[in-house]
Amino acid sequence: MSNLSLLAQAPVLNIQLLLDGLFIGAIFVLAAYGLALVWGVMNVKNLAQGDFVIMGGYIAYVLSIDLPVWIGIPEGFLWLPISEITFFQFIKPAIHPIFGLPVAIVLMFGFGWWIYRVIVSRVVDRDMFTSLLATFGLAIVLQQLLNLLFGPEVRVAESGFDTRFLFEGLVTVADIKLISFILTVILAGIVVVFMKYSRMGQAIRATAQDRRAARVMGIDTDRVYAFTFALNAAICGAAGVLISMIWVIQPYFGLAHSIRAFVIVTAAGLGNLPGVIAAGLGLGATEQFGGFVFGAEYQQALVVGMLILVLVIRQLQQRRHRQAVI
């Protein structure tokens, strides 16, 4: 709490926190927009959202390190015993993690499509708890697989860019944060334009409005669903790449990102893009200020506290519409 008076004494610190909050909040908006898309179009609440984000982050991380890769070639091919396999090692050179963006988008798009075909297509018509629980199971599988692959350490994809100093060195802005912010805006712009003007975007919106009517008009709604889910995974993957560069990733951080996306979408409501942007940036700033005032160990609790707060406020708003027995 003593930090609160510090904020009052040094107003420039507010600017630092606000900037950091906006940079990170912009990425939250991306993931939340993906969730709102899937939620609105196919009425599936994806609890694996955050794990998609973390997967994207690990794609960038893998690109950014020198990764030794072993390839085993059996001598004289298949009919020899296994002990005679010779292993060649070569080192995958480190590539700047920003190139992870297109890679993650493509890979996660494919992954999302596959997940839709295998799991989500089977729960899409059932009650909402089914999809919630199925994606929760998926989230557990993904976080454990990531843990097995990469270990529980906290990782950063090093971008190696400079840091700028503003206000006589009191406020620091890493260049990568600025770049990621610009990339976020560009990505969001592309998605919005895509949804508005492309054939597939129009088909997605038509399906969201009325699935039956869309089908009557000749839209392959199953394909639309698959595309929507894959698009969501791709958006999450892109968000993950940015998060891995300006923040940290860890196999178990996925659930917190899922909850963030839920907080934002629940606070803003479905189909309300300005609301999602405002709520996302607001959540980012709230987390930065909260982390500074209460201490970093409260950050997770703060996110979940926001969720409960938003749900309670929503509930009080709804109370007028419902004649419940109090």
Partner: protein, 355 residues
């Protein structure tokens, strides 16, 4: 054998196994104790999820709350809790047998009562939420509790608390806790069997089928919902206090509020066996526990992946559960042989028609 005979024989076999089990398989006493806890978990989840249609993902909150309340009472009766937790287990608590058992009894009572109070308190917050919002809201409560306790120094923070040590032989201790787990599970079962017979069950089933109509018929739905949650919380608090003592060490994220392990297991067990029935959750708990222990033994490292896959497969392909599947396959069996199951079967069928 006539139906009542068979029933008596069935109950007798289960009770006999419960009593003799730890002596037959002395190496598995702990696993068997956990099995009874799992059965209790599945039964209590089903009060809300199966019978009332409110799918909670955060029931584990009451388990953790009970665990901490019990530990604080046990320590606080004879020591200063803040001073004890400040040393992170470096100070050992020496208790006489009398002191230990008084502490344990009072602690368990406090755990059950405290958890029930929490349920009433939070009922006000979460019961306005419907469907998926309820699931996510309760999940939020459980996660928030774990995180907050982790920063609360009085309760030992993330480092946890060591509960008072049992003043006796280790074998004796294992048996004592086994039989307490067994007793609590049986207690839960008997209480729920009694509860599902009466008006209360009809009321919560009405809430599941159509809450607006139930309200229209004059049911005080909020009161019923809170009562159902309080019943679940009572038994979960009790089991939490016991489990903390059985493990011997309490820690917020992995032991007390394990949202992604026990918290989701209870849902999966109830669904695996068949939700909305009395025996389904029990069956599911037994099958799930067997699978869990097998994967732990033979797929070490991959056990979580295997369990997550099991969850997905269960939800996606087999949501009606073992008992639900059996009821569909042999409806006449559930109509003829066992009386309780026929009630469950009829009401289950009605629900499926409604849906």
């Amino acid at each position: 054998m006539t139906a009542p005979d068979r029933k008596v024989a069935g109950y007798g076999a289960i009770l006999l196994f419960g009593v003799v089990g730890p002596f037959l398989f002395p190496n598995y006493t702990f696993q068997l104790a956990v099995l009874w806890i799992m059965i209790l978990f599945a039964l209590t989840w089903d009060i809300m999820g199966g019978q009332m249609g409110y799918n909670s993902l955060g029931n584990i909150f009451f388990f953790g709350a009970g665990m901490y309340i019990c530990a604080v009472v046990q320590i606080g009766l004879y020591y200063d809790v803040a001073e004890y937790t400040a040393h992170f287990g470096a100070v050992k608590i020496e208790l006489t047998e009398d002191q230990y058992f008084t502490g344990l009894t009072l602690g368990l009572i406090a755990a059950a009562v405290g958890s029930t109070l929490f349920a009433v308190l939070f009922g006000w917050t979460v019961f306005g939420l419907r469907g998926p919002y309820f699931a996510i809201g309760t999940l939020g409560v459980a996660i928030a509790a774990g995180e907050l306790v982790g920063t609360w120094d009085y309760l030992g923070g993330g480092g946890g608390i060591t509960v008072p040590i049992y003043p006796g032989e280790p074998d004796e201790r294992a048996l004592l806790f086994y039989f307490l787990c067994f007793l609590f599970a049986i207690f839960t079962f008997v209480f729920l069997k009694w509860l599902y017979r009466g008006r209360f069950a009809l009321a919560i089933n009405a809430i599941r089928d159509d809450e607006e109509k139930a309200e229209g018929m004059g049911l005080h739905t909020l009161r019923y919902k809170t009562a159902a949650w309080a019943v679940a919380a009572f038994f979960l608090g009790l089991s939490g206090g016991l489990f903390g003592n059985m493990i011997g060490f309490i820690e917020p994220l992995e032991v007390a509020f394990p949202t992604v392990t026990f918290g989701i297991f209870m849902v999966v067990m109830a669904l695996l066996g068949g939700k909305g029935t009395l025996w389904g959750p029990i069956l599911g708990a037994v099958v799930f526990h067997l699978i869990k222990e097998t994967t732990w033994t033979y797929m070490l490292g991959w056990q979580w992946v295997a369990l997550g896959t099991l969850i997905i497969v269960n939800i996606v392909f087999f949501q009606q559960g073992i008992l639900g599947w059996a009821q569909e396959k042999w409806p006449e069996r559930f109509g003829l042989v066992v009386e309780e199951a026929s009630e469950d079967g009829a009401d289950d069928g009605a629900r499926r028609e409604a849906a």
